[in-house]
Symmetry: C2
Subunit: 239 residues, 2 copies
């Protein structure tokens, strides 16, 4: 398999417009191994095509958590790349090929994805840090000037506050944060910005908990179909 | 003005969802000077907020061409950053604070944006190359596995073919291409991919011209309002 003549890791950010989910492809330019973070079933064929165009071999399909707003693409992607292993936190309760816990490192050729457990939006939320790329992928734990909601799926604002402060804000301030969703078309942020400007997470823990408990958000549209499918790694969830 | 503690250039890609336009902020982390490429009036206040959050001083608002699918945000941005200069190609016929031609270099602190004229979608289309970032911003000249249409605003497929081959495909193959639009949620490509996989531009020039002339695309929805406003640098175009 002939790899493109690139001298640095391959990085792709992608969008699924229906749920405004951001999906990430990370590829090792030396070995051609790749991982995908938070793929969506609706855009799985697009993602397969990009991986094939770049001659990448997808070895891991990582879900940051059991999603409530879309069905994961990991099952569809495994049909195209049969040796791909889906990955989920051991505390999620969901089905996956491989389970991870805090401190584990997922190797993708020369890339290393460090697992940081960031519960609070759900019990099984994890973020992935790639230190060569100076980047963290936070799923719904931390959003741009916001955070994931804490009113369903074992949500707990006190736990989320600790996760963000201990596991994300402890990174160097110029690390780029790639989130799971943004509805304003903002694609990335940094540790510095969220530490200094996040209107929720610059509050005290007590104020944050109170704020999150008073949000009164609408019931998520896709949760009743998405969560059962995602508990089974997206099986049976194809639209 | 206190800059964030970053050790590398600031780069932000943003989306305006109505016209699926991609906007780019490039900032010098040493001087705090910034440029924005292809801002949209509908998202100008979001873009101002991001620039202010990062303590960046916007010195240039670059339009790759006189847009037909949205009104540029340069006029709105100049209201927030009065010393900002809007930039357009001298061959565009449109109004701007500064005109550029092939080979010019726009300096934004330590960043250098090299102007490459890439006509064919319009007469005044330019792309900007930033060699430190190994990136080119092509507006509508080259799109992902596609290209800008050539059936209005002085469009010429033969000219576009030459622009892409001479000015874009001549770059190193691992340069990242950031385009003006993509409707599938794909946010970036590379010179290598488009040279090898673009279904239109891997054709011969004759076949490409024939293909583009037979496309029979619908009349652009916003062109009658957008082009007159953009000929005046977006003035009078606020929604």
């Amino acid at each position: 398999m002939k790899l493109p003549p690139f001298n640095s890791p391959i990085f792709r950010q992608l969008i699924e417009f229906k749920s405004n989910t951001y999906t990430y492809i990370l590829g090792c330019h030396k070995t051609g191994k790749a991982a995908i973070i938070d793929p969506v079933v609706d855009t799985a064929s697009r993602d397969v095509q990009i991986l094939r165009d770049l001659n990448l071999d997808l070895v891991y399909g990582l879900n940051t958590h059991v999603h409530a707003d879309h069905v994961t693409g990991t099952n569809e992607l495994r049909n195209a790349f049969p040796s791909m292993k889906s990955v989920l936190c051991s505390k999620s309760g969901g089905e996956a090929d491989k389970y991870v816990s805090n401190g584990d490192v997922i190797e993708v050729g020369g890339l290393k994805l460090e697992v940081r457990e960031t519960p609070g939006h759900t019990n099984g939320c994890v973020s992935y840090v790639e230190h060569h790329l100076k980047s963290i992928f936070t799923g719904d734990a931390l959003l741009i000037r916001a955070c994931g909601r804490t009113d369903f799926q074992q949500g707990n604002p006190s736990t989320l506050f600790d996760s963000v402060h201990k596991q994300i804000f402890s990174l160097p301030e110029d690390y780029v944060i790639y989130v799971g969703h943004n509805y304003d078309g903002i694609l990335q942020t940094t540790v510095w910005e969220e530490k200094n400007l996040n209107p929720r997470l610059t509050k005290s823990k007590e104020e944050f908990v109170k704020f999150m408990k008073n949000m009164k958000l609408p019931y998520p549209k896709q949760i009743d179909a998405a969560v059962p499918a995602n508990m089974k790694d997206g099986k049976g969830g194809k639209n």
